[in-house]
Amino acid sequence: MNLHKETRLLYKNQSPFGWAMIVAMALFALLSENIFYVEVIKIAAIYAIFAMSWDILTGYTHEVNFGFAFFIGGAGYLSGILNSIFSFSPLIAIPLAALAAGASGIFIGYLTLRLKGPYFSMATLAFASILFKLSFIFYEITGGEEGISGLDVFSDDPTKDFFVAWAVMLAVFIVLTLYAQSKHGIILKAIRADEDATQSAGINTAYYKIEAFAISGFMAGVGGGVFAHSQMHIGPTMLSGYISIIVVLLAMIGGMGSIVGPLFGAIALTILNEYLRVVEEYRIVIYTGILILLIYIAPEGLFNLKFVRKSRILTFILLGERRPL
């Protein structure tokens, strides 16, 4: 076998399943007459943005970020404030808010650089809690418990609105996949396996960790901004522990460290959650029950199940891996 071709096959993977899912969502939105269903897959697309951007840091370095609401809600609020008070258009407000989220990713990444395991998770949790409290203290700007309502929408047409979220999700998917398959992603995986060994390979590990933190924060910021404007509202829930934990669960159940796993997890579980509204009284009970069951069956995520990893066909369809030889 050819050395160069084989090496490329090692990490240049495109998941057929991931692409099929993205195309299916677009077709569904084009063909569906029911506005409610389109609304559901729009939320699914936004949660997929959150889960994928969480995955690029935590899935690849295994340092669990439990304060993802910091980036999602922080950027959502910032974008909301820029829009409602300074009347910036969402097209300017969202990128600005995302940049701020990315910059704070650099800051938090730098501060938490030496923390590992639970200490890292607690520190990220603390940052999110600070922002959550601040949103109540500065209620004149943030609207306190009510949040900020009446934000500008992208479009009055729900289908067009969906396609904004869908396009952002597609862009995030492509960028993160390319990033994960570049030398940056491989180095992050090496840091996960052994940070000292990576340093003694001449790699500035601190730089790559902070970079991953910044990209993760920026992408989550884009997602948070899109969420705020497509809902026309941003409230303290998006800064709360609830949203942080949901993102962790969606990504973990899908399968950390693969980008496409969290994409699938977020879309499948969000649709399931909405579908369960037919039994509204028991919805939360059933939904949480299913999440617990899934964590029990597949602690490393559905895409990392043993039988998936052992089957050549399944690893190709789900993850796009073409094992050499």
């Binding site: 050395l3 160069h4 084989e6 090496t7 090692l10 990490y11 030398k183 491989i186 180095i187 995986k189 090496a190 996960r192 396996a193 052994d194 000292d196 060994a197 990576t198 340093q199 003694s200 390979a201 001449g202 790699i203 500035n204 590990t205 050499p324 030889l325």
Partner: protein, 249 residues
């Protein structure tokens, strides 16, 4: 210019003096062994040289440049690469992927003008190590001896001008030790200075030209293997007061 010069290096951990004014140097093309009883400070010495631990006083000079205050990755980029007492493989990767990591460092990137060149030199290094057939294997499936060789192979990808091996024989069979010895000898014959920490004296003494003996953070002797095994201080450090034969055949 000496590849590595260590001048009065000291390091304290609280009240414990792990290294106390250690000085020695490594000359071009030399293969040096560092020995000493457990807890003598050998690994601390390596950690200070390679930037993983800051030292308190003294100087470490690498080809005329001080390493003080430099980060481990910067020292690798100056041309000093180390391996670890416990193997540090990148589990979950293929051998090829693991070998790509050091090729991303500044020093290696500067010396390869294309990705193809990187892959070719990775393959060449693996073949020289006898790991050529394992290139597409999962790192998790290699045995202890192969993991050791992979650690050294990864170190070589960074184009070191001096190589530090921390207990390369530990946990290996006689056959595997011979493999590592052959590799170390060949690298040294190509002009690469090698410094080895080792407990398996019998095998080490056959390989090296110069020995530095450390005990309780102090250098107690330096010389050829033949002279060292007869040195009173060394025998005392290893075996206590009663005179006995140490492990040299």
């Amino acid at each position: 210019m000496k590849p590595l010069e260590i001048d009065n290096l000291s390091k304290n951990f609280g009240g414990l003096q792990a290294l106390n004014s250690v000085s020695f140097s490594v000359l071009s093309g030399e293969i040096v062994g560092i020995i000493g009883p457990n807890g003598a400070g050998k690994t601390t010495l390596f950690n200070c040289i390679s930037g993983f631990l800051p030292f308190d006083s003294g100087a470490v000079t690498l080809f005329g440049r001080s390493v003080k205050g430099r980060k481990p990755y910067q020292i690798v980029n100056l041309g000093l690469t180390r391996t670890w007492q416990l193997v540090k493989p990148f589990f979950g990767m293929k051998v090829m992927e693991a070998m790509m990591i050091p090729s991303f460092c500044h020093r290696a990137a500067k010396r390869h003008d294309s990705k193809k060149k990187v892959r070719e030199s990775v393959l060449r290094i693996l073949e020289e190590m006898g790991l050529g057939e394992k290139i597409w294997e999962d790192v998790d499936k290699l045995n202890q001896g192969e993991l050791r060789l992979l650690d050294i192979a990864r170190a070589l990808v960074t184009f070191p001008k001096i190589l530090l091996l921390d207990e390369p024989f530990s946990g290996l069979s006689q056959k595997e030790i011979e493999n590592i010895t052959t590799v170390a000898r060949r690298l040294n014959a190509q002009g690469l200075p090698v410094v080895i920490i080792e407990h398996r004296l019998r095998e080490l003494m056959k390989l090296i030209e110069k020995v530095v003996v450390i005990s309780f953070g102090r250098k107690i002797a330096e010389g050829t293997p033949e002279a060292i095994v007869k040195n009173e201080n060394v025998i005392k450090a290893y075996l206590g007061e009663r005179r006995s034969r140490i492990g040299l055949a």
